[in-house]
């Protein structure tokens, strides 16, 4: 096997430890422009990366082609030789017992033909055309089947097949001089969890609703974030702020806050890499460590960072199964699936929207500042709420708050739980500074 051959080559050349990471991927990808299928692509690729260790010196080599394990292993050794020592390096990961997770391979995706993908995607595209004012629907749809193998001289030997789908739609609407745009996206490991008609229709509805727009001025308002506006905000708290490396180097606003209160006591934030069919789920992480459940914020208290092997050993802890990598790079740390758990703050949609004046945010592309925890971004798709009713869409509207204020002042959490990127939770309502030109 390629990955074994590469590891053995690194050892044969003089490395004391070596680890190989191999990923083979079959991807069907469709692209639609202006409502018409534009490009279909089908690719199969394999990437191999090897980490070699000499004492406390580490080197990595990678290749897609030629896939020569001997060469890649040797190159990793040469790179390790050239590298200065890393005093914080402990070892490559130890082998662990991995309990296989069933719900990560969907035969429908694995065996999909491009025609199957096309008919599903076009159903979504057609559903977005809800009005003559919809002038364009564009999007991408990917079906991926991948096989991951990790093998090391320390005894790690795991492999797994996984599937995933990723769909994204953008809708443009025009009515005279009025312009609107809508979007929708979904990803997961099981095709049946995708409702193509609903996905398209919702994107079309957002575009039409945003034709009527207005600008507001500077106000302090309740802001309701729908789940699809939150992948860059809530998971960030685990992915970046509670990332052990960022804490160890003092980059995060949560540095020095372990065991202190950082959120309302009703609020817990959990990383869980074993939830069936979610995009961040798999049996093991990218170092072969079993994925697990980590209560990062437990009843308002910051309880645990997330770790890969390197950062865990540096803190004298065990990895939490959050190593993440592509074959070219060293493993980093990232969240699996991030759950917001706050049953005492749960609200119905009517209760969440019950504000005299506020903002409903459907999408923002922004993330908080890691060092300060401040969020300052654009509400790309947002609507004004007056007396509980959704009114006109907002243009050129900024939103600003701090993560800690948001977590401590969280007013409510919706029951509209859905996966959105690595976020798995409902809408939230907080108070924030809103700024526009009006």
């Amino acid at each position: 096997m390629l990955v074994e051959e590469a590891v053995r080559s690194a050892i044969r050349n003089g490395a004391e430890e070596a680890e190989g990471f191999e990923i083979s991927m079959r991807r069907i990808s469709l692209s639609v422009e202006k409502g018409i299928l534009k490009t279909a692509s089908s690719t199969r690729e394999t990437g191999l990366g090897v980490r070699a260790v000499i004492g406390k010196k580490l080197g990595i080599a990678f290749a897609t082609n030629p896939l020569d394990g001997h060469f890649v292993g040797k190159r990793a050794f040469i790179n390790a030789k050239a590298s200065p020592e890393d005093p914080n390096f402990h070892s490559l990961p130890d082998p662990h017992e991995v309990a296989p997770l069933d719900c990560i391979l969907d035969p429908k995706i694995r065996d999909a033909e491009v025609e199957d993908a096309s008919s599903l995607f076009m159903e979504s595209i057609e559903a977005a055309k809800i009005s003559p004012s919809v002038v364009s629907v564009s999007g991408m749809f990917d079906l991926i089947y991948s096989e991951v193998s990790i093998f090391s001289s320390r005894g790690v030997d795991v492999k797994e097949s996984r599937t995933s789908y990723h769909i994204f739609l953008e809708v443009s609407a025009k009515d005279g001089d009025r312009r609107g745009s809508g979007f929708n996206f979904s990803d997961g490991r099981k095709l049946d969890s995708l409702d193509p008609e609903r996905l398209g229709r919702e994107a079309g509805e957002i575009a039409i609703r945003s034709l009527d727009s207005m600008k507001i001025g500077v106000e302090e308002l309740p802001v309701i974030f729908k789940p699809k506006s939150l992948p860059g905000i809530i998971p960030f708290i685990i992915d970046e702020a509670a990332n052990a490396e960022n804490l160890q180097y003092g980059r995060s606003f949560l540095t020095g806050r372990l065991s202190t209160q950082v959120a309302r006591e009703e609020v817990s934030l959990i990383d869980d890499g074993r939830i069936p069919w979610l995009i961040g789920s798999s049996s093991f992480d990218d170092e072969g460590i079993p994925k697990s459940r980590t209560a990062v914020i437990d009843n308002g208290i910051f309880r645990s960072p997330i770790y890969n092997w390197y950062a865990a050993k540096r803190d004298g802890r065990e990895s939490t199964g959050n190593a993440s990598r592509d074959y070219k790079r060293a493993p980093s740390i990232s969240a699996n699936n991030v759950l917001l758990h706050a049953p005492k703050l749960e609200m119905s949609e009517d209760e969440l929207m019950d504000v005299s004046r506020g903002i409903l945010v459907l999408y923002t592309g922004d993330t908080p500042n890691l060092a300060t925890g401040e969020f300052s971004g654009m509400a790309e798709t947002a609507f004004l709420i007056e007396r509980g009713e959704v009114k006109k869409s907002l243009r050129q509207t900024g939103i600003a708050f701090t993560i800690e204020d948001a977590l401590k002042g969280l007013e409510g959490v919706g029951r509209d739980i859905e996966p959105a990127g690595s976020y798995y939770g409902g809408s939230i309502r907080i108070r924030a500074r809103v700024s526009g030109p009006g």
Binding site: T39, S41, T43, E45, G49, I60, N65, Y249
Partner: protein
């Protein structure tokens, strides 16, 4: 080519790409990542009745299978209603930029010492808590041939160093980012000041206060103004968005979009810049073009298909992230050309406002015509002087309004390397601008 034409394809394009790259990351003076690799693939793109098919071969031996797969994909995408005539110009030629000292020939030890030196400089500055220095160099050899006779070869060495520095004092942490890169050899980054600049800005930001939210008259520094024009206009001028009715600039050609003093161009031919190339990923020869000239919308960016459909000459803006992805319409080096104001003149003209500096990122919604770009920080201007240091802040604007609000353009143009994302593909670009003075943009501070 002949096998593809026999299958019935209207157009075939093969892109062979070999890439050698090195990635080195130094954190607090310790090597955390030293990686190098070798990649080779041949992508096969076919066109049939208006639909594109795309596949990838690992070697020449796999080309036949990839061709058939690509054609199968093209047939699935085909649609008689979107069929168009394939009569693009063809291009032949070669281009090579390796620099004085090609980066892949430089021993790893020397590259490491450059990074360590940057760490040393940054960490010697009082208040610096954490240094992150990152080097990526690549040598990419590309050959594009197509069924119309195009045959271009390009060998480009690209180098970029970046520094991300965190400073800490009395419970406050701030960070700043700086990078330098271009086409050429290791000489591009030797003697760079990226770590020092980022460290000083991070320390300076420790005393920063939130920006006052709302509409302000502002001066944008060249980094920020470069991202501003990239997001505000560049994306909206991408011809595919125009063609698909997804850009607010559709139907605006020849119309006034800004003050007569404003010229915005996209030019991949500038020697040595990070977003430069001679031939794009369809083999089209690159050229300079104006997006805005004298305040008037004067050009869209295109690939072969979009140029045909818009009835304009191909602009050489088809770019892909790598062999795994088909080319899309993308920017290269996009910038506002120099004007005649000094920074001091702008300051005294603004009197009360904000001097926004450093760019973190930006994005746009070209359909609605709104965009956002994030400043690393800034200064409050009072009585024509820089008074209080400001924290990171988001700035929003509307594409069809902002250039009319540009009141002054500085004398000195400078460029900044970056990475631009579209359809999950990231490509190297350069943003650029002199200082500009703008009224009525909205700051989203607390």
């Amino acid at each position: 080519m002949s096998a593809g034409l026999e299958l019935g394809a209207d157009f075939i394009e093969l892109r062979e790409e070999r890439s050698l790259s090195t990635i080195i990351r130094v954190v607090d003076g310790v090597i955390r990542e030293l990686s190098s690799g070798d990649e080779l693939r041949i992508s096969v793109r076919t066109l049939y009745n208006g639909g594109w098919g795309f596949s990838v071969a690992g070697s020449e031996e796999e080309l036949d299978i990839a061709l058939k797969e690509s054609f199968k994909m093209a047939k699935l995408s085909s649609n008689w209603s979107s069929k168009f005539e394939v009569d693009w110009p063809s291009f032949k030629g070669g281009y090579e930029v390796l620099g004085r000292e090609p980066a892949w020939e430089v021993p790893l030890e020397r590259k490491i010492s450059i990074l360590m030196e940057q760490h040393k400089i940054a960490s010697s500055i009082k208040g610096v808590k954490n240094t992150n220095i990152h080097l990526v160099d690549s040598l990419k050899e590309t050959r594009v041939i197509n069924s119309l006779g195009t045959d271009t070869r390009q060998k480009i060495s690209r180098v970029r160093i970046s520094s991300y520095i965190f400073a800490h004092e009395s419970g406050i942490t701030e960070a700043a980012f700086e990078s330098k890169g271009g086409l050429g050899g290791i000489e591009i980054i030797e003697g760079t000041e990226v770590a020092e600049k980022a460290a000083k800005r991070a320390v300076e930001a420790l005393s920063a206060v939130p920006a006052p939210p709302g509409k302000h008259r502002a001066i944008l520094d060249p980094k920020l103004a470069g991202v501003f024009i990239h997001e505000a206009f560049g994306h909206a001028a991408e011809g595919d968005a125009v063609l698909n009715d997804e850009s607010i600039l559709a139907g605006m050609m020849g119309k006034s979009v800004g003050a007569p003093s404003i010229n915005v161009s996209d030019d991949p031919t500038i020697e040595g810049l990070y977003g430069s190339y001679r031939y794009d990923d369809e083999g089209t020869e690159a050229r300079k073009k104006y997006i805005v000239k004298g305040g008037v919308l004067s050009g869209y960016l295109t690939n072969l298909e979009v140029s045909k459909k818009l009835g304009i000459e191909p602009t050489g803006n088809a770019r892909s992230m790598d062999f795994s992805n088909p080319p899309e319409v993308r920017m290269s080096n996009t910038f506002i050309e120099a004007g005649d104001w000094s920074f001091e003149e702008m300051l005294s003209e603004v009197k009360e406002g904000i001097y926004a500096i450093g760019s973190l990122y930006g994005y746009t919604d070209p359909a609605k015509g709104q965009f956002m770009f994030k400043a690393e920080g800034g200064w409050l201007i009072e009585k024509g002087e820089l008074k209080k240091r400001l924290r990171e802040v988001a700035i929003t604007g509307m594409t069809l309004e902002v250039l009319h609000n540009v009141e002054a353009i500085g004398k000195e143009l400078s460029h900044d390397p970056g990475s631009c994302g579209k359809k999950h593909q990231w490509v190297p670009v350069t943003t650029g601008s002199p200082h500009i003075m703008v009224s009525g943009i909205v700051f989203g501070g607390r």
